[in-house]
Subunit: 139 residues, 2 copies
Amino acid sequence: MTTKELEDKLQARDIHPTAMRLLVLEYLIGQEEAISLSDLESHLTHSDRTTLYRTLKTFREHGLVHQIHDDSGNTKYALCRDDCTCSYPDDMHVHFYCSRCEKTYCFPHLTIPEMDLPDSFEPTYVNFVVTGTCPSCAS
Amino acid sequence: MTTKELEDKLQARDIHPTAMRLLVLEYLIGQEEAISLSDLESHLTHSDRTTLYRTLKTFREHGLVHQIHDDSGNTKYALCRDDCTCSYPDDMHVHFYCSRCEKTYCFPHLTIPEMDLPDSFEPTYVNFVVTGTCPSCAS
DNA sequence: AGCAGGCATGCAACAACAGTGCAAAGTTCA
DNA sequence: TGAACTTTGCACTGTTGTTGCATGCCTGCT
């Protein structure tokens, strides 16, 4: 993906494109799985942890990435699709956490069924993570 | 609930009943919501954090409590029902996390629908947390 | 009763992660 | 060029999860 395309992707979400943010976005696009802050940190070794943290925070606030809380206990991040609004029940999908390799996968095609919550519980977001063994670890 | 009944509850799960464990169990039974280690710690002020941590760990390993990872990022615990085996898809239910008061509720009556995972992804457990606003915070 | 072994508890310490404050550097725009 | 604002980097803090080790308690055997 060209720099121009990356810039457009940021601007579509009203995020001011900077060198740092382009690098982070490029890394996110290249990932199959959801990544943690540490993953990002060990990939972009010359950048500061705080900056990466704040970059992800900005991305999240502008709906470019979503957060996942899996059984590992720490936060992971994954790119949203272009038209995603990150709202329940339309734009939410299932995630899979492999307890062996500790990777977290997005399953965008598996949308989350609407649940019949008790009265006055107003949903805005859903964290749905199936834990188990992924194909690479099953063998 | 009498001490005897609490002891029985522990023994039914093959957990050696001690004073500490009875106190923790009693507290868990009295809670509407899932609790964090810190909650427990601030209730049982005279006990050590490590002991409480290991008590919850023991309870979890014996299927007496289950863990929930909500949007707050930290682990919460809640009692399982007597016949619960904590396995997907039968014994798993939906949780609700209120982003205002940060409480996490169990909805044992809302079981989790079986998802049609891609080939070779083997599920064992599910973490399903709906985030939003609870009745007390909605008004 | 006395003792040995095993489990539970408490203390200390550590690593990882999340988050904040502040100052320096970079960018934008007049 | 310079002022205002944004972004980045550094230093530091607090919390949580976790482990190691020493002590204490309970149990069962002699």
